[in-house]
Assembly symmetry: C2
Homo-oligomer: 340 residues x 2
Amino acid sequence: MRPTTKDLAKAAGVSLATVDRVLNGRSGVREKTVKAVNAAILRIGFERNQVAATLARQRAYRFAFALPRFGDEFLDEIIDRIREFDRAGRAEMVEVDVIRLDDHDPHRAARTLSRLSAEDLDGVAIMAPGTPQIRDAILRMRERGIRTIPFIANQQLHGDEGFVGIYNRGAGATAGRLMGRFLGRLSGSIAVLTETTQSRDSLERRLGFDGVINRDYSNLKILPTLETHGDPGRTQHILRNALHAHRDIVGLYFMGAEARVPIEVSRVLTATNDRVAIAHERTPSTEHALKTGELDAVIHQDPGHLVRSAVRILRAKCENRTTLASQERIRTEILIAENI
Amino acid sequence: MRPTTKDLAKAAGVSLATVDRVLNGRSGVREKTVKAVNAAILRIGFERNQVAATLARQRAYRFAFALPRFGDEFLDEIIDRIREFDRAGRAEMVEVDVIRLDDHDPHRAARTLSRLSAEDLDGVAIMAPGTPQIRDAILRMRERGIRTIPFIANQQLHGDEGFVGIYNRGAGATAGRLMGRFLGRLSGSIAVLTETTQSRDSLERRLGFDGVINRDYSNLKILPTLETHGDPGRTQHILRNALHAHRDIVGLYFMGAEARVPIEVSRVLTATNDRVAIAHERTPSTEHALKTGELDAVIHQDPGHLVRSAVRILRAKCENRTTLASQERIRTEILIAENI
DNA sequence: CAAATTCTGAGGTACGCCCCTCAAAATGTA
DNA sequence: TACATTTTGAGGGGCGTACCTCAGAATTTG
């Protein structure tokens, strides 16, 4: 039988009340006693029964995802996964919710975070830039007893163990390698499209992509990044111009999270499928394009996994546990028509 | 507040005892009463609190993996993940164990399964061929109240919902596509190695691989599969012969689960890395070979995911729940140096 | 109609922990 | 030494469910 708190109390030579105080970090226990209890924990191999602990808490774990108010197809996907998790998690006493942040107004966003109370929230996964206001708001949340982890966007704060996100540089490098290998001995240029080059995602991906191509594929030349601003008309315009100005374009790299528009535009503009096209994120559009051959590969990070991983880590923080590292590593997946 | 069994009893106009009888499928309740309770469940949106239910069971969930006695590097990996899960799962009242089956002797294997009792086991994930003896043993286990799911190997039994396994045909096709694309316009032959062509894994992978190459890459010719029988000396011998007999070998496909020996041998035999080499399963050997460039891609299915998924499904069966389908789909991952 | 059978209700205990109160003991301070 | 303060012990109630017993009610059977 696994040792219980009662066994632990006996082993440590203290009462149940003291064991409880130590286990839950309550005050009013001498250092010496704390040490004695911890020693007993190791000695008898006590491990708190999380099932009983969760039940006794008298309330479900309540977590939230703080996400930007406006986003792309990929963000929608994440929100869907959060809702899905919420439905499935209720029987396990876990509730998750979505909070929208005005990412264009750091003050408002920070204020939104400031209003969150430990009364009705155990932890938050935050997807927001690391501006001073936001970083400050996060620190104050922590003081209030709300656990936080950076989600997708990293705020580079101290104590940010358990970042759940995307390794964009690696994702870009992966795209670069596939582009280089798929093109083989072919020479020519590669057009790169994204919504905006301002975002860190785009910067890092481009960095990874360039690194591989420039080092290993001297036959290929990467053109300056084209910005679509998410506008179909503009996308069509700039892509047509690019294809016209550079007759040797052999590869298309859709670097942004919103590949739908570029894919459609390039379908219209390109009669044949002989250019290698690579995009990011599995969405209905990219999935379909893979099947038809309009895309040759998609670099993907599973949003469901991101969500579940974030919740597991938040919960582990609440329970002073560590998680299975191998389970939390978010994979940079390569999708082709054969393995979607 | 979420409705509890007490609320349900009130809503259905019955006692707690009757609610309990219905929820846990005990006998001695009139059909009419069962219907009334079920109607009330839907009406008030009752959902059993799994945390409380698990605690009240007075014992942990006990699951087992029935695995072949002898296996390859990949099976070792799976066993490691099972042990790991067991350690991490104790706090959640889940215990998992490994049972070894004599896969060469269906009678003995069936007998081993027959000895398992519902007393000390809630469910088993079974990796065994679907021989009549084994299928029969599985059916009798189910009658005894032990939940079962096929694991990796499918026994094709009725009621096998929730197969956790590998889609070998797709994995082979994925390997084929990458081989074709990585080789580009190059012409030549592809050598295929595996431990034994007898296994269904090998058959299906080869089928998928051939399908893609033969349809789309007329410049490539696939040689007959070479069998290593896991013997380094023999591997070296047959690979040297093949490279000698077919000077035009441009691709190597290591189809088996044990790629270590073939990789080492081909390193010795091949001075340059200009042949495309693809293997299955991430292991220390294949990971290292990816980094050094001896392998160009690895097709992988995450063993940790396989294990966790199997446990989740078994547990859901015990609790009459369904699982999140999106979480249980085992991905055919493509690994290259940039995304390991 | 009575007897046998089936169904239901009432009540209890248990799981392992959280969280609370209050008094007693140990320690520190003047 | 007397007092204040800190630390500890003892005990209880609660979470929502599982599982048990036993008596009484409802239903079926002869």
